[in-house]
Symmetry: C2
Subunit: 364 residues, 2 copies
Amino acid sequence: MQTIRVETPSVRYDVFAGSGLLETLAQRIESVAGRLPRRVFVLTSASIWALWGHSLQQSFPDAPVVLFLEPGEKHKTLTSAEKLLRQMARAGADRGSLLIAFGGGIVGDVGGFLAAIYMRGIPFIQVPTTFLAQVDSSVGGKTGVNLAEGKNLVGSFHQPLAVFADIGVLGTLQDRELRAGLMESVKAGIIRDRSLVRFMEDHADEVRGRDPKALEKVIAASIRMKAGVVNLDEREIGLRMILNLGHTVGHALEQATGYKSLLHGEAVGWGMVASLYLARKRGTISSAQFDRLQSLIHRYGPLPPLKVRAAKVVAATASDKKNVGGVRRFVLPVGIGDAGVVEDLTAAELESAVGYMLARAKRN
Amino acid sequence: MQTIRVETPSVRYDVFAGSGLLETLAQRIESVAGRLPRRVFVLTSASIWALWGHSLQQSFPDAPVVLFLEPGEKHKTLTSAEKLLRQMARAGADRGSLLIAFGGGIVGDVGGFLAAIYMRGIPFIQVPTTFLAQVDSSVGGKTGVNLAEGKNLVGSFHQPLAVFADIGVLGTLQDRELRAGLMESVKAGIIRDRSLVRFMEDHADEVRGRDPKALEKVIAASIRMKAGVVNLDEREIGLRMILNLGHTVGHALEQATGYKSLLHGEAVGWGMVASLYLARKRGTISSAQFDRLQSLIHRYGPLPPLKVRAAKVVAATASDKKNVGGVRRFVLPVGIGDAGVVEDLTAAELESAVGYMLARAKRN
C-alpha cells in the first residue's frame, strides 16, 4: 500500500492506494476519523454494489444505509441529488453522519456534493472503484453535478476525510473503462512527470494487462502528481488549471455528443491530441515530442472514432468554466513533464486544432 | 452609516448599515471588490424589484441580469435553484460574475446558495430588504434551501463580499414583517447584549414606529452581536449555536404548520417563549427575568395564535440540524445577555415547554 498526503491550507488527508482496503474499511475509517460515526451512508451504483458490496460491508458492525445512483451522466443532476438528500433526511442523517462514495467518478462527484450540501456539510470518504476515479476525480475535493447547459456547472469544493483506492476492485473493470482511465495517467505524465511518461512507454503491456505491480505504480504516480498540484492550489486559481490539459476540448466533445458515445477519459484523450497540435504549432513542444506523446496516447487507446461536426465542438468550448470575464484559457504542454496556460488563443487556432483532431479520428 | 466587520479564519468582510446605500451600490461594490465585475446578476422577488429595482439599478453602467424567485418558503427548493442556475448558465455567467441577492431572507439564502454552487463558487453580495434579513440571515454565510423533510436541510457556508443593509427600503416593509424581524433583535439582546434588551424596552414605541435613529441603533447592535459570534465560530461548532435560541421549537412550529401561517420571526418568538419556560424551570433565569423577557417578546408582537397539536411540534424537533449523533441540543438563556447549550433535555421537559407555549398562545 502507498500513502499519498494531500495538504491544502484548509485540510489535510491521505489517499491510500493498494490491495485489501475494502475488506478492512471500517477499521481504517476509525483510525482516520478517531471513531466510526454512528450513522454511515454509502452512495453506490447497483452494479458495483452487486460485485463488491459484500466486501465493503463486512467490516462494519452495523450495516450502512445504502443509497443507489442510476448509472450515467444523465443521472448526475440536481434532481438525482435532491432524491438522495431526501432519502438521507428520512433515514435520519445528521451532521455527524458519514457518507461513503463507493463507485466511479460520477458516484464520487455526486456523493461528494451530497456531503458538501447536506446540512451545509457532513464528513465523507471516497472509495473509488474505477481507474479514472482512483487517479483523478477522487482526489482534490471537486464535487458536483451537471446542468442541461453543461457538465459540472454546479458543485462545491469539499475535501474527503480520506480516499481508499483499492486496486482489487479494478479486477472487474471493463477493458474500455481501464483504457479511458489511463488517459488521465498519460495526462499526469505529460504535464508534470517525465518519468511516468517513460514508465508508461516502457511498460504498456504490463499496465494494459493489469499487472498489479505496474498498476499500483501508475496509480500512485498519478495520484502523487495530482495531490502535489492540489496542495499548491486547492481552489484552481493558478497552477491547478494545468490539470485541465485536454479537458477544454474533451468537455466540449462530451457536450457535443450528448455525454453518450464517449467515456470521459476518451474525450480527454482526444482533447489532448488537439492540445498537442496547438503546442506544436506554438512551438512549446517539438515535432519529435508531438509524435512521441501522440503515439503514447494511441497506444493506451484505441480512442473511439468521433461523429461530430467541428463547429459544434468549437461552440461547446464557450461554456468552459476556466473562461473568466470572457478570457478563453487553454492548457498547453511545454516539453514533456511541464505545461502552461495560455489566454490568447484565437478562434482560428482552436478551429484548426479541432479540425486536426477530427481528421486524425477518421483513422481510428 | 455604521460599518460592522465580520472576520473569520476564512474570510473578512464588512456589513454596512445606513441610508442611501442602494442608489450608490455599484460604486460601493467597486470599492469593496477592487473593480465592478463584468457581469452582474441580481436575484430578487418581483415585488421588491417593482418597488426598489430602479434605485438599485441606477448606479450600474450596464443593467444587471435580473433573476426572479417566486415568493414564499415553498419556492425555496432545489427545483427553483436549478431553474435559476440554468438561467445563469444561459446568460453566460462565469466564475468572475457577481451575484447580488436583493430581497428578504429567502432571496438571500437561495442567492447565497446559487453563488456557492455555481461553478463551485462565485462572488456575491447581500442587499437584504427586510428587517429580519438585515439583522440576521444576511450575516454569517449560511445559505441554502429546504427539503420536503425539513427547512434548510441543504446548503453551504458561503460568505458574501459585503452586506449592504439600506434602512430606507424598510419604509415599504409590512408592519407584521417588521415585528417578526424584531424578534431576532430581541433574541440578540437576550443571548448576548443586556444593553440592547434595555434599549428595546425603553424605546419600543420609536422602534415600532420606524424612527430611523432607533431602527439604525437596533439593527447595528443586532448585526454587531451576530458578527461577534460568527467571528468566533464560523462553522457553528460551538458558540454560534446560541444564535439558535428559540429556533429548535421555532423551526418545528414552521414545519408543523407547513411554512404557511407563521413568519420565521414569529415562530422564533414563540420558540423563545418555550425556551424561557425551560430556562426558568432549570433555574438559569429567575422568575423576574422570565416575566421581563416574556413581556419584551409580546411587546414587539403580538405573536399570532398557534393552531397545531403539541405532539406534532415535538415530533418535528427530531430533525433539528443541531442534533448530532442522536444528542438533542437546546439553547437556553442564562440570565439576561448570556446563553448556553444543554444536551440533556428530556422529552418530558420539551413536551412541557411546548405545552406551556401553546397554552400561552391561546391568550393571543
